[in-house]
Structures are given as C-alpha cells and as structure tokens.
C-alpha cells in the first residue's frame, strides 16, 4: 500500500461528501418509510367511475372523450369501456380499451360514434378488465 493511499484512508470526509450523504440518506429513509407505510395499507380492488367530458363532431363521426377513474388502490389492466346513447340498441355503441388504469388514477379514452346516431344523453360504462 502506498503512502498516499494511507493518507487518503485516514482523511476525514469533505463537505460535499457529507452534504451528499445527508441528502441521499434523507431520500433513502423517506422512500423506505413510505414503502413500509404503503405496504401496511389495505389494498382495495379496482372500482370505476366514468365521466363523459366532451363530444365533438369531426367529419362524419362524433368523438366522445371519456374519463375513467379507478377509485380502488389496485391497478387494472385492459380496461374495456363501452359508450352508447341511453336507450339505444346495442348496434349504436362504441368501445375502447385502456391499457392500464393505476389505482386512484384517471385515464382518458375516445369513443367514436357514427354521425347518424342522434346524440341524446350518452352513457359510458366499464364492462371488464384484467388483473395485472
């Protein structure tokens, strides 16, 4: 071992090293603390709330924006959403699939309906999803 290495080993940590250690330590403790707290929380299964945010006619079709909110804690995969005018038969409906809706989060999708359908009050509903 060289003399310079012995000197390096014995030297006290510099200000930058101490500051970085403190900041990193706080971040590490905060993340571990959150994960411990979160692991102890009950995880509710997905449950959905849908809101039709807007309807816009573009060309021959009507584009309906639907917000889907997962009120549960667990994420849902391949969330299938159906949009149709209230009281209409099943041939008038449109579908879209959201890849993921994380717990307590919202995702948006667009349903495309043919122009010739008279738009009354539309309804949007989640008809199925897969567990991750």
């Amino acid at each position: 071992m060289t003399e310079s290495r012995r000197t390096r080993k014995a030297r006290a940590p510099d200000a930058l090293e101490l500051t970085a250690t403190w900041i990193s330590g706080v971040l590490l403790v905060a993340i571990v603390g959150f994960l411990v707290w979160d692991a102890r929380q009950p995880s509710r299964p997905p449950s959905f709330e849908t809101v039709i945010e807007s309807q816009e006619q573009r060309g021959s079709y009507v584009y309906v924006t639907v917000a889907v909110r997962n009120l549960g804690d667990a994420a849902a995969r391949a969330v299938e959403v159906r949009v149709r005018p209230e009281g209409r038969d099943i041939g008038s409906e449109a579908h879209f699939t959201l890849d993921w809706v994380p717990g307590r989060s919202m995702r948006r999708g667009i349903a495309v309906l043919p122009q010739n359908i008279a738009l009354g009050r539309l309804q949007a509903e989640v008809v199925g999803y897969a567990e991750p």
């Binding site: 940590p13 590490l28 993340i31 979160d38 692991a39 993921w100």
Partner: protein, 279 residues
C-alpha cells in the same frame, strides 16, 4: 472564495459523483426506457419493492468495496458511498422519468415514489461500478488481482446478475419464452448456461488472476466458484421474476422453473462477467 470551497478533496468527490451519474445512466438507461418498469410503479406491491431496495443496499455495499462510487475505502466511507449511490439513483431516475413524461401531473404520489424507488436500483448499481467503468484507481480491485476468494467473487457475481438481469427481468419475454419451452429446451438452456459460466470463469481466471483454472491447484476453486455463481444466478433470476410478479404461489412449478431458467441465462452471464465489469 471559490478556491477555499473547492479543495482537492471536494474536487475528487465531485469528480467521483459525476462519474457515478454517468455510470448510473450507462447501466440504468435501458431500464429507464422499459415500459414494464414504469408500470412497476403501480402494479408491484410496495412490499416487493421494499425487499428489492433493502437487498440492493447490501449489493451496493459489496460494490463499494471492490469498485465503488468514491475512491476512499474506509468502512464509513463505503457506507456513505452506498447511501449516495442510491441517492444518485433516486435523483437521476426521477429527472429522466420526468423528462420522458412518465411522471406527470396525473401520476399519483405513491406511483411516483414506487417508480423512482424501482428505477433507482439499476441506476445506483451503475453508479457503484463507476470507478471501474472510468478506470479510476481503487485499492480493493488491485488487491483482488492477487487473490482468488470465493465469497467476494460471488458477491460481485450477484451484483453483475442484478445489473444484467434487471432490464430483462422486468419484461414479458422471459415469461413468453418460458411458456414455449419443452423439457428438452429447458435442458438445453441449463447446458448452455453452465457452459457459459465455466467458459467465462475460465477466461476471468486467466485474465484477472493469471492462473490456469485447469491446474490441479485451482481446479477445485474454479469448479466450486462456477457452481456457486450459477446457483446465485438462478436465485437472482427467481427473485427478479418474483419482484416483477411473473412467478408466485399461483404459478405452476414447471412454468416457474422454465421462466427462471430463461432469465438465468442472462443473470449467469452477468454474474460470471461481473469481475470484468466491476474490477
């Protein structure tokens, strides 16, 4: 004033941390650009991420000893370096995920923390081998060249397995390949993996330690190290797949074993080549 603050020691530390950031990006970028890793923030339970973070800290400590973020190698300095390496992992992954638009105003707080905790792991591993990546002097690596030791070798192997296994383990591919395997394919994978472990260990032994592993003096050590390294690679593969929810109590034994064998081909490569990467 500036020269008072920028002492040689501070400059050395600043250079080490800059190397750590770049080293972290080199290793962590594939994971940062993998969507299954982003999804991990909301579909991996906190308990599993917590286990990963704790185990990763142990691996970071091993890496500080043999390569590391900072050239100073006292016990306290290595603990500080492990903490800062994970801190770099947290900050770098948060910034990159923000720039990629993965973290946005519609991302809930818990999802942000879990994503950053998860992505911080490969970045921190990269930061912890920065000294080797950029050829900075570190005493332990030089010391290791003169000695063949089983446990340090396995410790480095676990780190290497995690570095290579992390990105692939998060994706669906090990599961899909695992589902396609017959027993014959699985056997072929074991043969290839063992051959790789033996071959790379032989190469590392020749290059790093200057020994002939087929020499009677070293043959026992060489075979023991290869066997233990492969076992460690299998365990790391199983742990990765469990963390990412690919295997669990509801997975059949044969599909689970097949998936582990598929991923262990990657982790075995990482584990055996780790000494080339880390030292």
């Amino acid at each position: 004033m500036a020269t008072d603050v920028l002492t040689p020691s501070v400059r050395e530390t600043a250079a080490a941390y800059a190397r750590g950031v770049v080293g972290g990006l080199l290793v962590g970028m594939p994971a940062l650009m993998t969507m299954e890793m982003w999804w991990g923030g909301f579909n991996i339970p906190s308990t599993r991420i917590l286990v990963l973070v704790v185990l990763n800290f142990g691996v970071l400590l091993v890496l500080q000893h043999f390569s590391g973020l900072h050239p100073r190698k006292t016990v306290a300095a290595q603990v500080r370096a492990a903490i800062v390496a994970y801190g770099i992992g947290i900050v770098v992954s948060a910034i990159i995920l923000l720039v990629f638009g993965v973290l946005g105003t519609d991302t809930v707080f818990g999802d942000v923390v879990r994503k950053v905790a998860l992505q911080g792991v490969p970045v921190s591993l990269g930061a912890s081998i920065a000294a080797s990546e950029f050829g900075a002097a570190h005493e332990e690596a030089e010391h290791r060249l003169d000695h063949a030791l089983l446990f340090p070798s396995v410790g480095i192997g676990i780190a290497g397995a995690m570095i290579l296994g992390f990105t692939v383990g998060a994706t669906k591919e090990p599961m899909i390949i695992g589902e396609q395997l017959t027993w014959l394919h699985a056997l072929g994978l074991v043969v290839i993996s063992v051959a790789l472990v033996l071959g790379i260990s032989y190469g590392v032994g020749r290059r790093r330690l200057g020994i002939d592993p087929f020499d009677k003096k070293w043959l026992g050590f060489y075979l023991r190290e290869s066997l233990v390294t492969y076992a460690a690679a299998l365990l790391v593969a199983a742990f990765m797949l469990w963390t990412f929810g690919r295997i669990g109590v509801d997975t059949g034994l044969a599909p689970a074993v097949h998936m582990v064998l598929v991923l262990s081909l990657v982790t075995a490569l990482g584990a055996t080549a780790a000494e080339l990467l880390v030292l």
